[in-house]
């Protein structure tokens, strides 16, 4: 990639937290601004130049027919498309609608449901277009974002670790909250990225960085049930920011089916 890649930042259904993470990276932001040509970033600048872009950062999930069209446009205009965050990568917390009746939600929430045009589902960007790189997290870790941008500029592979959150606990010396306190923690099935913040505050991991590759959430869920965690609490644990990611979805759905079978 040439010296100053043109960067575009695009928003779909999301809370803007991931874009804010980029703006939060105060120390690195100037370096980012110096190293890339920020051509389109409505959240940060009024400069909105047309494509093509060398790198597109895509935040948010697809929840409307219009967005389902627009993502194809972004893809056409972009050489390298990278999703940022759990919404873009797995559908986000708004993918909870995928288990419910979105029309009913619209009727319950809005005074004029007829003005609301929405799809029945919230889906990941990769369900619609080819994605070149997925940067995980809810929100993303700005150090990782800077690392990926640096790798693109240098033309090398990004070094964003794919190991479990547990490894970070152990490097930091954090005592395992599941083993020592019986707290339900998704760390063993979740990809690293936050440096294991929650366990260091005596909380279980919420799975913000999505499923570990080749994760084994079924074994973890079975074990947590043995530790007397009620399935009715485990289902929502798996069904959060990354709940619609295949591995987490499968285990949540499986538990729910068993709960129904057992009445």
């Amino acid at each position: 990639m040439s010296a100053k890649p043109r960067l575009g930042v695009f928003k779909f259904a999301s809370c803007d937290g991931c874009q804010l993470s980029l703006l939060d990276a105060e120390d690195e932001l100037l370096a980012v601004a110096g190293a890339v040509d920020i051509a389109f970033f409505p959240e940060a600048s009024s400069r909105m130049e047309p494509g093509p872009y060398d790198v597109a950062l895509v935040e948010g999930s697809i929840t409307t027919a219009h967005d389902a069209e627009r993502i194809h446009e972004v893809r056409r205009e972009s050489k390298f498309l990278m999703t940022i965050g759990a919404c873009a990568t797995a559908g986000g917390i708004q993918a909870l609608r995928n288990w419910g009746d979105s029309e009913e939600f619209v009727r319950a929430v809005y005074a004029h449901p007829e003005y609301i045009q929405t799809l029945a589902t919230s889906t990941a960007i990769a369900d619609h277009v080819k994605v070149d790189f997925e940067l995980r997290g809810c929100p993303i870790n700005h150090h990782q974002l800077v690392e990926v941008l640096a790798s693109l500029i240098a033309g090398r592979k990004p070094r964003t670790p794919t190991h479990a959150v547990c490894l970070d606990c152990k490097r930091k010396g954090t005592v395992c909250v599941t083993v020592a306190q019986g707290i339900a923690c998704l760390g063993p099935v979740t990809q690293s990225g936050c440096d294991a913040i929650c366990p260091s505050y005596d909380r279980g991991c919420y799975g913000c960085y999505g499923p570990l590759k080749q994760a084994n959430p079924t074994s973890l869920a079975d074990h947590l049930v043995q530790l007397n965690h009620p399935p009715a609490q485990l289902v929502p644990l798996f069904r959060s920011f990354n709940g619609y990611a295949e591995e987490f979805r499968g285990v949540g759905d499986g538990m729910e089916r068993r709960m129904k079978d057992e009445g």
Partner: protein, 382 residues
């Protein structure tokens, strides 16, 4: 080969007798002496619901009156009915984190008008004193000595820390359900590899000198000769630990058992349960794998080279030339166990397991390597 000063075995076998005694009220004098000699004392302390190894300055920080109850996948602290200082066994930390730190910067590079300027980054060597090292942990240090000091490539970080570290061992006077040092012939009694070894009794500690450095320490401590009752109490405590080690691990022909059964269906059975989360390898006091990464700034002008603990349970760890070699949990669990218990013997002339039980307790789903090997053994027609 480099030897450390803590490696001296007592020349006089009677040195292992509990001839000296440190009164309970004088334990602080030991800490003070170590601190006065410029050591950072690392010892057991309660933190986050467990007994961890961290810097201590006072006996008041020790887990006095507490014990640990351990099971596969479970660890709990419990009050004792006495106020013993060392009435517990090993916890989630091991001394490995001080001798082979989890993250270390090993080199830095800066771009200059003349090109890249690269320099090593050794950093100052901390002068540790480890208080409360158990027999299995002494054995683990010997295993890591073999890895880091006795091959063709000596690790300078480990070497300098190891040489500086004073080892104050403590004999176990009880054992956990996860301990199996007797099967691995590493404990529970400390035989060598320490400067001083203590056995706790109600009134204080019998003391054994294990090295010249230990002798020099002893000379400056308020020690007195132990009386027969104190020696008997110390012996009884050590025997109690030995009796409490109930976990048995049959290691007969273990190398061949594992290496000749690489396609045994039991590996797939474990893989159903294993999370490939790395916890077992991280808590294991002998596991030594690391990876080296260069961390650069956005401008590409400053790079730091870091060495970080890594694990055979990570997918990327076996990424080579465009592909992952151990591409399922089954082959990764098999790698851990066959290395630890079998090919380690080929590589280093001894087992990589010292029987401390940490991997059993700290596995979030309670996988017990001794049970897995026993199952594989029983399912194998020999």
């Amino acid at each position: 080969m480099s030897t450390t000063t803590t490696q001296t075995s007592p020349a006089d076998p009677s040195a292992l007798d509990d001839r000296l005694f440190l009164a309970r009220d004088n334990l602080q004098a030991l800490i003070d002496l170590l601190v006065a000699q410029g050591h950072q004392v690392i010892g057991p302390k309660i933190d986050q619901g467990a007994i961890v190894y961290t810097e201590i300055q006072s006996v008041d920080e020790l887990p006095r009156g507490w014990t640990d109850i351990q099971q596969p996948g479970q660890y709990r602290l419990e009050k004792r009915n006495d106020d013993a200082y060392f009435g517990f066994v090993v916890g989630p930390h091991s001394w490995k984190r001080y001798l082979f730190p989890p993250i270390t910067t090993i080199a830095v590079a800066d771009q200059t008008p003349q090109g890249w300027e690269m320099r090593g980054h050794p950093g100052p060597t901390p002068k540790y004193a480890f208080l409360g090292v158990r027999a299995c942990e002494l054995a683990a240090m010997r295993v890591q000595d073999r890895v880091f000091l006795e091959g063709p490539y000596v690790d300078p970080i480990y070497q300098s820390r190891r040489e500086e570290a004073v080892i104050i061992a403590v004999n176990c006077t009880q054992a956990a359900a996860t301990c199996f040092c007797t099967s691995m012939k590493t404990g529970p009694e400390c035989q060598s590899g320490f400067d001083l070894a203590l056995t706790e009794t109600a009134g204080g500690f019998t003391v054994v000198i294990g090295s010249t450095r230990g002798r020099a320490l002893a000379e400056q401590l308020p020690l007195r000769p132990a009386v027969a009752e104190e020696q008997a109490a110390a012996r009884a405590g050590r025997e109690r630990a030995e009796q409490q080690v109930t976990k048995q691990f049959d290691t007969t022909d273990i190398r061949d058992l594992l290496l000749k059964n690489l396609n045994h269906p039991h590996w797939a059975d474990v893989a159903e349960r294993c999370l490939s989360c790395t916890n077992c390898t991280m808590v294991c006091p002998t596991c030594f794998c690391s990876s080296v990464v260069d961390v650069g700034d956005l401008a590409g002008e400053h790079v730091e080279r870091e060495r970080r603990w890594d694990s055979c349970f990570n997918l990327d760890f076996s990424y080579m030339n465009g592909g992952v070699i151990r591409n399922d949990v089954r082959s990764r669990y098999r790698q851990w166990l066959t290395h630890k218990l079998a090919s380690w013997i080929d590589q280093f002339g001894q087992s990589g397991c010292v029987g401390c039980g940490r991997c059993i307790t700290w596995c979030p789903v309670g996988i017990d390597l001794t049970v897995e090997v026993a199952a594989l053994r029983s399912e194998t027609a020999v």
